[in-house]
């Protein structure tokens, strides 16, 4: 299946792109994050981030479906 990733803020800068798409077998957000964290050198573990699937906050362990859009959400400014 195909998963679309969009990057914002620090992850966009670290990935060097605003998004990419991946061909995968069955996967969950946490698995996709680990793969991409290794590829792009993202420092924080997934437990420091939140994740959105199709523009809604989602669980890191939800199974993904073909065509899903993933966004990893670093901590927000908070003040």
């Amino acid at each position: 299946m195909r998963i679309e990733i969009e990057y914002f803020a620090i992850l966009r800068e670290q990935a060097g792109q605003a998004g990419e798409s991946l061909e995968l077998d069955a996967a969950t957000p946490v698995e996709v994050y680990r793969l991409l964290a290794e590829r792009h050198g993202f420092a924080p573990g997934h437990d420091r981030l939140r994740v959105a699937v199709n523009d809604a906050f989602a669980d890191w362990h939800t199974p993904l479906a073909d065509g899903d859009r993933l966004v990893f959400i670093p901590p927000v400014a908070g003040g």
Binding site: A9, I10, Q14, V76, A77
Partner: protein, 143 residues
Amino acid sequence: MKRFALADRPVDTRALRESLADPGCGGYAAFEGWVRDHNEGRRVRRLEYEAYPDLALAEGTRVVAEAMERFSVNARCVHRTGDLAVGDLAVWVGVSGAHRDEAFQACRYIIDEIKRRVPIWKKEHYTDGTAEWVNCVACAAHS
């Protein structure tokens, strides 16, 4: 009328306030976040706000709706994106209600939850030429 909006240019706070006018309301509380010239001991020259627009709009709208429901008030919030200079308005919250207590509480609730939950990130550019995404020290460590 949008309860929560993102704005890529200066915000007309007067028009926003007018939109909350109501003859049944005796109290109006507002909060504005301004770009400050310093943060944690460093001199700030300018800021950049970047939003994840779809989710920011959904979550911001949810926050304002929660406050309206919980405190029985009318409320709106606008958050800037893009490049801001020192002194610029970064976020505006306005609340009108029958009494001041609810207006204050709702206003505080909205700004606190917006800052905690809405995916908008802030990059500080310092006078020494460096820049940093705020509150993401661990993220930046390997950048």
